[in-house]
Symmetry: C2
Subunit: 457 residues, 2 copies
């Protein structure tokens, strides 16, 4: 069966279009499994052909973007992996209309640079910007550092083209911001991790270039003041606040001490460190305003210390601390969690989490950082490699506590296979049933990324 | 059959819960038809009961919000109308979490005021704010004056509760901004005009109160400069521009001459008049910045005249001109269109439209105004009441030209029944098929608002 399929695919896609055998063994951030082949279509027609032929043969198709997902959503064991890497063109940048059209395989950073070259701004900023693809960030509804102001990927997609499990092509490539003509079908494909369709093209909304970048790092001793500061800045900077990233003290210590390359820009010894970014349009006036608002909060006692970057390089040095997430792995194996809570629950949850984990594993290291404006925290816990059961117990401890605090088991990384056992902690039986109904309606044969997000009925 | 149903509903809902006979004859902006009864449930359990009983009896259910829709989406001929007017409570305003929870029957303005009372801001601003309900604006994905900065209703909904055609309650009342746990089910109910479920509650995202309101009215002679001005302001005001509303000269003349109460704030004689609003957080500094940016554009010749409001009252007077849409009806019957185009097509389309309409109906009046930042224009055409066929011919002329310019036949008013014949001009056969598939999957019996948005398969 699969030999016939592979022969058919090879014939349809040509020599550059199909990798098999050892060529199909690949690597990425997530566990990719062992696909029976990697299909590399160069057009939407070829994507259709791959999906039709696989459906016919009863072989699943697993879409691949940048392969930098974190929840096993691209695991292609026994499936044909469908990579969009050859469909990576920027089809159009239209500054007058405020949009760009790209193929799904285009790398995020490439798209950002193409927009910038035309005086526009694609406000998507995430750690994997150099590898993640537009199709991948659409499929996972990626977030990142500027969600506070510009929203998730969902908010940047005006239209898209997707191929369904039956091979039909849904072309909703509208560049319109307002378009209430029936159901908003693109929403089906955003954040559904390739289980309802394969995204092949997208129309992205662009913003005007914002020439004034203002960055500061501040230290705060009480979490309540972190929230007060954020509300104050949201109001005082009136929509220009673009990032508010919190590092708990353990994270800050890690990224400012050797072997990390960073050094403390604000002295160690405080509880919380916040990266604040304001993007504006007035390079002459903005820095003064930014500094004045921060000075006000310092005098008022809301913050304990602050350094305002005086140049792009100083701003980059502050961001480099926040972005040096690799340091959390330097002292041994870890387990990482990406959760969200309503803002007022973030600190009660964090404190209870430390207590619960320390009571059970007295030696455990717990490191926190995240996008506080969105109630999104990343939790890193050191694990003992000699205790094979600890990982699962840890999952249960973290997610159990999270459910008590009505949090979400996945803020921005998605469900994939890794978080599937815990999905029911964040979604009700009726919701899960409705998800299955949608999957059943759009992909009754279970062709597209089966077993991801939800278990088949 | 329907007598048994009515008796059952009356018994379940109580005397205040059901209107029949002459009590069920009602009126509103849109054509509401003749429902066989009006159900007035007071709880989600009663909504479930109404839907189950109607489904059993084979009688359609038509949800009613504020009944101020413009496309016949609430027409309840032969159906049970389900009004949410008794489910209008504000359940929670949580400034710390930046959210509020309301029942669907809550009037928009009431929700806005409740947020404001807690120092927060619900940035939904539309003409029908005093009558439209939260459930209604969710079902139609309403837009309005501040979409440019804050998005459509879709962007303000974090979670919702909806009742499906089978009576199951999808409770997705999450207050989380980031929540990638499976399919984003709420999207199914936003903008689908009550055809996939009845929205009963919503969690809305709030923004911090913005104390600085800055409003100006400017006159411009060339449309290209209108666009240039918008881009300039978007960039220079760095995210604080909250409205950019254009009135073509005919509209401006109508709203500034008797019997309208408004008078020209900027002199007549120019081609375009733009209401510009900047909401900010710095009442001391914002007005100066706003004025300086406008002065710059005046000196540069981008605008021909400008008046900056010096008080709240002056700002309100400028907005009152834009909001006095009633004037377009004062010279006789009209047909109104709500379309959107990519920005670069707005003026070519508008010019071609005038030419085409004048060629065919030399006496026709064509009045334009709209939310240019979103590519959304409202078109008003005077119709000859003695020519019964003119309305349909006009629809065909406007929508035919619109399709040539790749526009949308409904920017923010939805499809209902009135725009259904033209839906295929904006959506492809595959898209329409997918819409039908969703309807079939969620409401196989055609219980909820049948015949609206899409024709049954």
């Amino acid at each position: 069966m699969s030999d016939t399929l592979l022969a058919g695919l090879a014939s349809r896609l040509g020599p550059r279009g199909l990798l098999t055998g050892s060529d199909a063994a690949s690597a990425g951030w997530s566990s990719l499994g062992r696909p029976i082949a990697i299909a590399r279509p160069s057009s939407v027609e070829e994507v259709v052909a791959v999906i039709r032929m696989c459906a016919e043969a009863g072989v699943p198709v697993v879409p691949w973007g940048g392969k930098t997902g974190l929840v096993g959503g691209a695991n292609a064991d026994g499936a044909v992996a469908l990579t969009l890497e050859r469909m990576n063109r920027i089809l159009q940048v239209a500054p007058d209309d405020g949009v760009m059209i790209v193929e799904a395989g285009c790398v995020v950073q490439t798209a950002c640079e193409a927009a910038e070259a035309q005086g526009m701004f694609l406000p998507l900023d995430l750690g994997s910007r150099g590898s993640a693809t537009i199709g991948g960030v659409i499929s996972t509804n990626a977030g990142g550092n500027r969600v506070l102001r510009f929203g998730m990927m969902r908010d940047m997609v005006l239209g898209l083209e997707a191929v369904l499990a039956d091979g039909s092509v849904v072309s909703s490539l509208t560049p319109l911001i307002k378009n209430n003509t029936g159901y908003d079908l693109k929403q089906l494909f955003i954040g559904s991790e390739g289980t309802l369709g394969v995204v092949t093209k997208a129309v992205l909304r662009l913003r005007p270039h914002l020439p004034s970048h203002n960055v500061a790092l501040v230290a705060i001793d009480a979490f309540a003041d972190v929230i007060r500061l954020m509300r104050r800045l949201e109001s005082r900077l009136g929509g220009q606040l673009s990032a508010f990233e919190v590092m708990w003290k353990d994270y800050y210590r890690l990224v400012t001490t050797a072997p990390a390359r960073g050094r403390p820009i604000v002295p160690l010894g405080h509880e919380y460190y916040v990266v604040i970014e304001m993007l504006g349009g007035d390079p002459a006036g903005d820095p003064g305003r930014f500094q004045a608002v921060l000075a006000e909060t310092l005098e008022g006692g809301l913050i304990q210390d602050a350094v305002v970057a005086q140049s792009r390089a100083e701003g980059a040095a502050i961001w480099a601390l926040r972005d040096d997430g690799e340091q959390v792995q330097r002292d041994g194996p870890i387990a990482a969690f990406d959760v969200s809570l309503r803002l007022s629950r973030v600190e009660p949850f964090s404190q209870a989490l430390r207590e619960r984990l320390h009571a059970r594993w007295p030696q455990s290291r717990v490191i926190l950082f995240g996008h506080i404006g969105d109630g999104n925290i990343h939790i890193v816990v050191g694990v003992d490699p000699e205790r094979a059961d600890m990982r699962r117990q840890l999952d249960e401890a973290v997610f159990g506590l999270l459910a008590e605090h009505e949090g979400s088991v996945s803020a921005e990384h998605g469900i994939g296979v890794d978080k599937r056992p815990y999905l029911a902690l964040s979604r009700s039986p009726v919701e899960l049933d409705l998800m299955r109904r949608l999957k059943q309606s759009l992909d009754p044969g279970g062709v597209l990324n089966p077993g991801k997000v939800i278990a088949e009925a």
